[in-house]
Subunit: 301 residues, 2 copies
């Protein structure tokens, strides 16, 4: 799992936290850790707290690839609108993340599964190049990279088995408003599995042979949606890795892929129940599986 | 089925039609006619075309309650945004609809199922009062009635078994942003079955004992979304009437209710494939059932 480990300041209608553990890699890794052994690649500054490292360690997450350098850890602050469908960034201090040049520990290179969180496409490509022969490579990206480093991103995508983005990113990347058409355009860029996240409305899995749609979980209260998309990525990738799934030509197990989308949705929903990563401190696999069954219950007919 | 029969002028990114058959009662009735015998209550002017009456008749729709009065039929014109998520009303000429005072033919009064399309709540109540003892009463409403005739609407809702509205209407009516909370607030107003339509994102069925969520069908091309919500209502009500379902206390068959939501979604999706009611001219029950199975295929895991 590659991405950012950061500190976040977040304000939602439910309250405000000045500084808490965040970052795409953090959410992906914590969510995935309930399904598989996770190894992370990221960078933090000398202000990184031992208690945060301990949280990773408590989930069995390998920190050999977590580089610690002089300076401050990436800091982001934002405030959500009353309905939490919009957020405004108040501050983005890249700090040590500005010079992030991911280097994989030797033990990581032979791993079969690689999830590239939302960072500069050139860095995602560099990580992929350091891997021996992963059976499954996928990742996320964002509007900024799609518009400002498009050629680089397209080069990077060629090597991915799956792309996991939200609906507006899929539209921007493909130039197609219709999501079926957008997914087909992405197939031609490389990834043969496209997962489109729709926030509170759920997600769609597209494959050349068909698609699968899951509605979002209806929470009674959304405390803090920060990281929900990354937790989806973590649940999805973690579940696939946990069952050793390959997405190679013709080999994809569509049943397991659908289950992975549900586990992604489950992890995204839990993420919103508390501020930051707090829900993952106490979450159990039994609670995860109970919510998976809730998804079956409220979608079957 | 009670509501408006109208002529519409519609412009979407796919084209423009100056004048075509429309209105809530039209869409509800046509969609429901694939599942059950439909009787409509509405008013038209002396400009109402024989060919439109013939379309209803070709679907076995009883027009005994379609009043014809001197003057012009209700006319509405609107234009959709490029992504078709917004529309602007260009013209609303109520014409003969301004004095609509629904009177039920004697043969209608003993019918077991009543669907009240979006008209003034006082008129919806007057229709309900003319019925002997319907086993199932439900309807739709809109932002205008919720804000300007709230007391009247609340009085009307007391007698309904189900309410079928979109998400913003549910929020406005209940004062709750969260849809689970909004549905509970509506239960307290009378209807113990609340169906919330979410446009392209599908629909949610709420009952005191739980909820069911269906995502929207992913069309390759949305030609014209006009009437899709009413077609949902028609498919939902028509299916329930067709299987003789009651929503009385404890008697509700939740399996059939879920199926009704799918048939509603199916009819809404077909509606968008052509301008106005055109898709219903050729649609077959076999196509409807094939799409029902598509819903099973793309949602099951």
């Amino acid at each position: 799992m590659v991405g950012s480990v950061a500190y976040d300041g977040v304000e939602t209608p439910h309250g405000r936290v000045e500084r808490m553990l965040g970052g795409s890699c953090t959410y992906i890794a914590l969510a995935a850790s309930f399904f598989t052994k996770v190894r992370i690649v990221a960078v933090v500054g000398d202000d990184f707290c031992d208690s945060d490292a301990e949280l990773f360690a408590s989930k069995g997450i390998d920190l050999a690839g977590l580089e610690r350098v002089p300076g401050k850890t990436f800091f982001w602050a934002g405030v959500y609108s009353a309905d939490m469908n919009d957020r405004t960034t108040l501050r983005t201090d890249l700090n040590v993340f500005a010079d992030f040049d991911p280097k994989l520990p030797a033990a990581y290179r032979s791993q079969p599964h690689l999830m590239l969180g939302n960072i500069q496409p050139a860095l995602q490509r560099s990580v992929r190049a350091q891997m021996e022969r992963p059976r499954l490579t996928g990742g996320d990206t964002m509007n900024y990279w799609i518009s400002s480093t498009r050629a680089e991103l397209l080069e990077t995508l060629k090597e991915w088995d799956f792309l996991l983005v939200n609906d507006s990113e899929a539209r921007q990347l493909s130039g197609c408003h219709n999501l079926r058409k957008a997914a087909r355009a992405v197939f031609d860029m490389g990834p043969r599995t496209v997962i489109i996240k729709r926030g509170e409305y759920g997600a769609i899995l597209f494959r050349p042979e068909g698609h699968f749609i899951v509605p979002g979980y209806l929470l009674e209260d959304v405390f803090d949606p920060t990281g929900a998309g990354d937790c989806f990525a973590g649940g999805f990738t973690g579940y696939l890795a946990g069952c050793g799934l390959d997405l190679g030509d013709g080999a994809a197990d569509l049943t397991e892929l659908r289950r992975a989308v549900i586990y992604g949705s489950v992890m995204g929903s839990f993420c919103c129940e508390r501020f930051g990563v707090d829900r993952f401190r106490t979450l159990t696999r039994a609670e995860i599986d109970a919510r998976y069954h809730e998804f079956q219950e409220f979608t079957s007919f």
